[in-house]
Every structure is written in C-alpha cells, then in structure tokens.
Amino acid sequence: MLLEVEGLCVNYGHIEAIRDISFGVPEGTITTLIGANGAGKTTTLKTLSGLRKVRAGTVKFEGRDITSIPPYERVEMGISQSPEGRGIFPGMTVTENLDMGAYVRRDRKSTAYEQDLERVFTLFPRLAERRQQVAGTMSGGEQQMLAIGRALMARPRLVLLDEPSMGLAPKLIQQIFDIITEINQQGTTVLLVEQNAAQSLKRAHTAHILETGQIVRSGTGAELAGDEAVKAAYLGGDV
C-alpha cells in the first residue's frame, strides 16, 4: 500500500465531516472515491494533503505516519494534488504554473526537469501551444489540463485528482479520463475523487463509495459498476 488511511475522522466545529473511514491506495493503481455532493470526498482529499486537521485516525504514506505534518512537506514526500475547481494561478503563464507544480524540486535547471516538462506537454499538446498564455484567460478544459499537468510536475508518487471532470463537456470528459489512465500506466498512482461514477468506475482498479462521511461500499471498479444499487443511486437510469 502506498497510502493507508485508518479510522480517519475530520470535524468541522462539532460536526463530523468524515466518520471513521479506512482505505488504502495500492501502488500503481487508480483508486476512486465516488459519492454525491456533500459526501465528504473533497474533505478527504484535503485531509490527505494536509489542509484539514485530523480529529482521529492516521494517514500513512509509504508506511510513514504523515497524519500531522504540514502540506508542503507532504508535497516533498511525493503527494501532489489537482484541487477541485482547478485552482490554477490565473495571473501566471502556463509555464509559470507548471514551475509552481515543481516548487518543491530544486533541480529546475536539470534535464530531468526538462523531461518532465516535455512529458506534460506530450500528454497535453494544448498546453504546449499555449506556454506563454496567462492561465486565467484559458478555457475550463485547458485549465483542468494545466492543473493535472502541474500536479505531475512535482514528480509525485501519488497524485490526488479532485473532480477533474467537473463542469467539462462530455467530449472533454473522455479525454481527461483517457489521460488519467495514461498517467497511471506511466507509473503514477492515482487517487481519483469523482461524481462522474460511470467514467471513474470504468477506469479505477478499486473504488469506494462515500455517503455522509462514511465508506458504504468498496470493491473493484467493475464490481461496483455492475451492482444494481450503485447503478440506481450513482449511474442513474434512463429518464
């Protein structure tokens, strides 16, 4: 297991946002957390990257307890995130945004760095065309690509993706999921949080369903995709 979450509880004030959830992310896989709005998906991701305080439970990365270390150290350890709502730096150019992704790296002049940059531009040719464009003026889809590309620039062992398909057109959604699969095949472990259950179940090795802060079901992507109850609640019937 690259990442192990055990008995995690997160509170906002007196309210429990996350109640005792445990799961693991095996190295080299795509793991997905799906659930409705308000189920606790984003909170989970924010907790994993250190933006939220943990009330109880532990988070282990490569066997090391990281429950209470600050976000920037986690990035140094190899966890990077593409946040919900994309969160690109609107006033910076594409290249500068990608540089920000590599903030914790000290090898900016090295060939390894150049290679990583090339890798991102190969994954997202659209970005290559727009290297000097100010990110804030790009379309939603391009911003999403930039956010994912930026997360990769840290050379993460584990990349956390928060709703990459949100607000995107159907055609783009497929592209994004294709790229996620490709990233995984290139060797990066992916933890994917999604509302688009159909796509994410199709791509994920393991899936967990979150409801009101708890994991209610787990299984392989295919298992859950075939499950009638899951189908009814998350995949929707024909209207």
């Binding site: 990257s49 969160g87 920000m100 914790v104």
Partner: protein, 333 residues
C-alpha cells in the same frame, strides 16, 4: 489661492528632482504596504512604525559611531553602510514581530479583514508609544542615565549628526542637483529593481506570487504559507529600513510619530500605482512625490497634502485599480 506658474516653470528641474527624491522614499515604504496587501489582502497599518523604528536605528548607530567631529572618507562610508544595515535589521525585526503578534493569530482564526486592520492600528499605537515612552522604559530598568543620549527627549525631534557633505554634483539648467538627492533616488530604484527581480525570478518569489493568487492551492504545491507571509513582511521591513536610512540622510530628524503621515502618504502611493503591484509602488511613489512638489509650488505648500489626495481621487476615477493596476494579487472582482 494664487496660482504661481512663473515660479513653477522657472524652477521646474529643481522641484522635480527634490520631488523625486522624497517620492523615492515613499516608494520604498509603499513596497511594504503593497506586498502585504498582495499576499494577505490586508492594509498593514503598522508598517509606518516599521519605518519609524528604522529611522531610530540609523540615528542611534550614527550617534554611537560618529562621536565628535566629522569623520572623513572611508570611515564615513563605513558608518553609512552600518547605519543602513542597522536600519534594515531593525525594521525587518519589527516587521517580523508585527507579523507574529498582530497578524498570525488573526490569520489562523481566519478573522474578517477589517478586524485585522484594527489590530494593525492597535499595533501601530503600541509601537509608536513605546518609542515615545522609551525614556520611561529605560527608567524602570535603571539604564536611564547610561542611555540618556539615545532615549532622552522621547517625544520630540531627535536629529542625526550630519555626515554626508551635501555638495552639488551637477546642474540642470540653473538648478543644482545635490549629492543626497542622487543617493536617495539611485538607492531607492536599485532596491526596488532588486526586489522586483527577486519576486519575479526566484523560487521564493514565485511562492509569494502563488500565495497571493490562491493560498490554498499554493499550499498544495508545497509552498509553506507561513514562511511566505514571513518573507513578505521581511522584504517589506527591509525596504522600509532602506527608506528609513535614506530619510535620515535627507531629513536628518526623526520622532516617535514620524511614521504616521509618511505611512498614509506611502499607502496612498501604493494605491496610486496599483496596490499589490511592485512596480506600481515605485511609479506611485515617484509620481506622488513629484506632483506634491509641483502642487506646492503652484498653490503653496499648505495645499501639498490636498494635492496628493486629489491626485489619488482623479487617478482612481480614470483607472480604478491605479496607474499600473494590480498584479501580485489576484484581480479582485
């Protein structure tokens, strides 16, 4: 109100140079306002005191080293550098303390922005009064006699030994351009360019810009936001220290409440140039200094501050985010 245009035109070069010199000091102080605003969206009201403490550091250092007569050549240069460094160190220290005591507790609690302004105002009062009551403080610890030269006359002007010969360097038309003005303008511009390049080019500078645009995402990129905020205050403090040194070089006199008016002006300069924008601070400061001088010449010095504020209003009406607009911070909607 008589308009005195003939005087204005016949002395245009001199008025412009002296205006630029004072404007350069505004610009350096404005930098501190602009950086903190850019990163935290807070008006660091106490920045004026950061400057004020710098002036005292420069003053005390010079007093301690000059002794009696006027030292010459190399020694003068050493004293100047020492005074500059002590002003920078003192201002930076005060800025960091300010961040720690007046801001961090509020940022941690995610307090409303206005309350941070009030906290800063409180801190400003405290810092200014501590300086204004320094003789009391040393009195309590029994150092009053030893430190009399340094802490005495706590509430009135304290002046610095004159160490730079303010000779005429060159003339434009029949206006003389003098040593101190040139030092002030050149030093200010060099420092501003250095900071600008640092923020634009360096890794830490990129961290500052990222935090300014989106603190949470910046944290996800591995930016230590506490460090970045400290760095911001530190840079602002260092620049205020430079400003303090240059101010003492030019004006030679300081007082516990000297920061207030200068702070208001420097903040005006920051807004004039586009708050959050480093280059804007430079432009705003220089423009403000020059226009104030011009206005004083035409209308009389009693309208100096009025000219400054009217300029601000007029500029904002036509360019609602200042001359150069905002850039360090996100464009606010």
């Amino acid at each position: 109100m008589d308009l005195n245009f003939s005087f204005f035109f016949s002395n245009f070069p001199e008025l412009t140079v002296t205006g630029l010199a004072f404007g350069a000091i505004y610009a350096l102080i404005a930098l501190g306002y602009t950086m903190v605003y850019g990163v935290l969206q807070l008006i660091n009201f106490a920045h004026s005191e950061v400057f004020m403490y710098g002036t005292f550091a420069a003053l005390w250092f010079t007093m301690a080293t000059v002794g009696g007569g006027n030292p010459g050549g190399f020694q003068t240069l050493a004293i100047l550098i020492g005074a500059l460094l002590s002003a920078m160190a003192m201002s930076a220290l005060i800025a960091l303390i300010l961040e720690r005591v007046a801001y961090r507790p509020l940022i941690k609690r995610n307090a409303p922005r206005l309350i941070a302004l009030i906290s800063a105002i409180g801190a400003s009062f405290v810092l200014a009064e501590l300086m204004g009551l320094r003789d009391r403080v040393t009195g309590w610890v029994g150092l009053d006699d030893d430190l009399r030269d340094y802490v005495g006359r706590a509430r009135i002007n304290n002046s610095m030994p004159n160490i730079v010969d303010n000779k005429v360097l060159f003339s434009i038309g029949d206006a003389d351009v003098r040593m101190v003005d040139v030092i002030v303008i050149v030093a200010a511009i060099v420092m501003m360019v250095a900071v600008d390049q640092f923020v634009r080019r360096s890794r830490l500078g990129r961290g500052i810009r990222a935090t300014a645009q989106d603190p949470e995402t910046a944290a996800l990129m591995g930016v230590n936001s506490t460090r970045v905020i400290q760095l911001t205050f530190l840079l602002g403090g260092l620049m205020a220290g430079v400003a303090a040194f240059l101010y003492m070089l030019k004006i030679e006199v300081t007082k516990f409440d000297v920061g207030f008016l200068l702070g208001v002006k420097a903040f005006t300069a920051a807004v004039l140039g586009g708050i959050g924008n480093l280059r804007g601070a430079l432009v705003g400061g220089l423009v403000l200094g020059v226009v104030e001088n011009w206005g004083s010449a035409i209308l009389g010095s009693e309208w100096r501050h009025v000219v400054a504020f009217v300029l601000l209003v007029v500029i904002l009406l036509f360019r609602p985010t200042g001359i150069l607009g905002e850039s360090l911070g996100k464009a606010r909607t």
